[in-house]
């Protein structure tokens, strides 16, 4: 199993804990990755100019294609943008229009056929939950985890097919359970983090972030587990504005949790970078 690792703009600057733990976990599981010179996925540009957003996405697809690799993303928005481009470019007319732009500006073209997969989807669908479970050497028994999928991980279903349910997904719950931890059901489990409109209206975005954090504050939960760096910005950076310190909920990325279960150390997994206090979580995990 080998993929081109797509980091996007946010992860290599704002979510180093996610990147570090993902690299360590992928290596530990024997999933090979390569770093290519990818550009922005195009997601933020789409609102301004759909055609240019698509061209940015296509530029990335063509780079992966020329290296003979499919793409593995860690960010939900990158996964959505690149997967949508993959589908849009199946249309001959759109493909030839975009190829004219790529050829003119970058001297390359996209032929088609590159697959785009989120890390969690790769683990769930290709690597397999059972195989993840087999690799666990430090089962995280007793940990209560609240999962947050993030909208673009499984929606829109027209671009993702049916690898998971668009409204009642289960892949991340199963992946958390594979570590030995419990994935709790909670109110607002499927609510949106608000990150998509942070740049437009911070107050409305934070209202959305608050919805989940407040629902969780009344529950016994050891950590909120994420798979998208922008959800991370909302639930970590904005948590300080929303929650009182004694109600603080540790926010971590799934590979950080899985890494602990695989026997990796907290520093290898970037726990020292977490914005919320993770001491209690690590103690309970037996680390």
């Amino acid at each position: 199993m080998k993929y081109a690792l797509f980091l996007g703009c946010t992860i290599p600057t704002r979510a180093l804990d996610y990147e570090l733990s993902a690299r360590k976990v992928l290596k530990a599981l024997g999933i090979e990755t390569m770093d290519l010179g990818f550009n922005c996925c195009g997601f933020p540009i789409e609102a301004v100019d759909e055609e240019k957003g698509l061209a940015l996405a296509a530029s990335n697809l063509s780079l992966a294609e020329s290296n003979g690799l499919n793409i593995l993303t860690l960010c939900n928005a990158c996964a959505e943008m690149l997967s949508k481009a993959e589908l849009t470019l199946e249309d001959e007319k759109r493909l030839s229009g975009i190829n004219k732009v790529l050829k003119d500006k970058l001297g390359r073209e996209y032929g088609g056929g590159v697959k785009v997969r989120h890390l969690a989807r790769v683990l769930y669908e290709e690597y397999g939950v059972d195989k993840v479970k087999e690799r666990v050497s430090r089962p995280l028994k007793g940990l209560k985890i609240a999962v947050h999928y993030g909208c673009h991980y499984m929606r829109p279903s027209r671009i993702y097919g049916e690898f998971d349910d668009p409204e009642f997904p289960k892949s991340l719950d199963r992946l958390v359970e594979a570590t030995g931890a419990e994935s709790i059901e909670y109110e607002s489990k499927m609510s949106c983090c608000g990150g998509g409109i942070l740049n437009i209206d911070e107050a409305v975005a934070v209202e959305m972030t608050k919805m989940k954090l407040e629902a969780l504050s009344n529950r016994e939960v050891d950590a909120l587990v994420l798979i998208c760096p922008f959800c991370g910005i909302m639930y970590s950076r904005y948590q300080r504005l929303i929650m009182k310190e004694d109600k603080e909920i540790p926010v971590i990325y799934y590979p950080q949790l899985l890494g602990l279960a695989l026997g990796l150390g907290p520093d290898e997994l970037g726990f020292q970078l977490n914005m919320m206090n993770v001491k209690g979580l690590l103690e309970k995990a037996g680390v």
Binding site: P12, L16, G37, E50, R155, S157, I197, V204, M208
Partner: protein
């Protein structure tokens, strides 16, 4: 409370605007909307502020209320959670319609200041956040590889 607005004059409706939206990618499905309102009922933004409504934006677009639609702040507040799209019984894709409307608003010079700033950043540094010295040092200390390129492609593709 939703503020009451004055009625729109039929003579001010612009059918060319409707046609324009329908012909863009993502716009074509709009014609079959039968206004059930499941989109607005599913919208997390409407639940925070009832002034915002997907259904109303779609109806206004179909009526040709160009100025009201393109000046409506709501088109920028769609968080693209895609719940409305999953639930629409007519397979309308409201987030894609919002993208079409945002693109047209940008063409008409109507966009929030955050968007202008973001585009400036992209055109200058070729990515959303800079890899400054602090970040580069932190990455190195963690044993993470240097972030390779991609900025030039962004600048070239975003250039005129």
């Amino acid at each position: 409370m939703v503020e009451k607005e004055s009625p729109v004059e039929v003579s001010n409706l612009d059918s060319r605007f409707t046609d324009r939206v329908l012909k863009e990618p993502g716009g074509e499905a709009l014609r079959v909307c039968f206004q059930c309102g499941l989109c607005t009922a599913s919208c997390p933004i409407s639940s925070i502020d009832a002034r915002y409504s997907v259904r109303r934006t779609i109806k206004r677009t179909l009526l040709g209320m160009r100025d009201q639609v393109l000046n409506d702040r709501f088109i920028w507040l769609c968080s693209s959670c895609f719940l409305c799209q999953e639930r629409c019984p007519q397979d309308v894709r409201p987030p894609e319609v919002m993208t079409v409307l945002k693109n047209l608003a940008v063409g008409a010079g109507i966009f929030p200041s955050g968007i202008a700033k973001m585009m400036e950043v992209f055109k200058t540094i070729g990515r959303l956040y800079p890899i400054d010295d602090f970040t580069a040092d932190e990455r190195e200390a963690l044993g993470l590889p240097r972030v390779q390129g991609g900025e030039d492609a962004v600048k070239k593709l975003l250039g005129e």
